[in-house]
């Protein structure tokens, strides 16, 4: 075989190798992109859902006359949940402080600070409104800035 034909064959093989290599890289990039998209979607969904679901589940478990209501704590909107144990009234306060959804359990009447609470999950803000007696409208901003809303109706009137 002549040198020219050998050279042409080598060039063709190398060109095919380059195309194959590019295809490999593109496939890997596409696969990584899909995984990243799925993981981002899962994380975003979880971030928006966890905090608000926690608050609404807590409110549903405290739906008794005079035990659940909206209020203010540390200058921010908060949800107050009261419980009587052995003659003492304890309050659970759900609020957002310093980038975290916090929960503070203490005896009613104690003047505690927002930093005394226990962190639940990262969050930016929580607003609580009562457009209708017994209906709490919650606006929750997750750590990634995603805004979620939820309504909880207290059949007992709160």
């Amino acid at each position: 075989m002549s040198r020219r034909q050998t050279g042409a064959g080598t060039i063709a093989a190398l060109a095919l190798t380059c195309v194959f290599g590019a295809t490999l890289l593109l496939s890997l990039a596409a696969g990584a992109g899909v995984y990243r998209r799925v993981a981002d979607r899962v994380e975003r969904s979880a971030g928006d859902r966890v905090g608000l679901t926690y608050i609404t589940a807590k409110i549903h478990s405290y739906d008794e006359a005079g035990t659940a209501f909206a209020g203010q704590f540390g200058g921010q909107d908060a949800v107050y949940l009261l419980q009587e144990v052995d003659g003492l009234t304890y309050e659970t306060i759900l609020y957002v402080y310093d980038g975290w959804l916090m929960e503070l359990l203490c005896e009613r009447g104690w003047e505690l600070e927002p930093q005394n609470g226990q962190t639940i999950t990262k969050a930016r803000s929580l607003t609580v409104e009562e457009p209708e007696p017994g209906l709490l409208h919650l606006c929750y901003t997750g750590a990634d800035g995603g805004l979620s809303t939820a309504d909880v109706y207290l059949r007992s009137g709160g």
Binding site: F20, S27, G31, H60
Partner: protein, 137 residues
């Protein structure tokens, strides 16, 4: 032959490596998505169970107020009082939760006053005693 052999081997190795990477990505992505789908279905099922129990409780209160029969398998109790008839209902919400309802039917107004409508955990709870706590010498 040496140079050609080396390049040929490299192509095969790179191809195998990329196939392995793709396979790992695919399995990771599929397992993540599958787990998320299962969680979403579970969440939807729990919510459906809660609202079904909620609807049943409303129906039972309405039946009680109208003097209609209550199914025998319902956990309920009724006590009379000066302020009206007190009714306690407990309805299952799925396997591990219950809806506890307490309502008072005022005799003069003929309406329900809801005193309690809360969901409680009713599943088995076992304390974790795997950590040995030192209780003294």
């Amino acid at each position: 032959m040496k140079r050609g052999g080396g390049v040929s081997g490299a192509v095969s190795l790179v191809m195998i490596f990329c196939v392995l990477c793709l396979a790992v990505f695919a399995v990771l992505t599929l397992s993540t998505a599958d787990r998320e789908a299962k969680l979403a279905r579970l969440t939807a099922e729990n919510a459906a169970n809660y609202y079904e129990a909620d609807r049943q409780a409303v129906e039972l209160l309405a039946n009680l107020a109208a003097g209609r029969d209550i199914p025998a398998d319902v956990d309920w109790a009724m006590t009379g009082g000066e302020e009206g008839t007190l009714v306690d209902l407990t309805l299952p919400v799925g396997e591990e939760q219950s809806l506890e309802v307490r309502a008072r039917l005022s005799q003069d107004a003929g309406s329900w006053e809801i005193l309690r409508w809360r969901s409680v955990y009713s599943g088995d709870w076992a304390a974790d005693e795997t950590i040995e706590i030192w209780d003294g010498p």
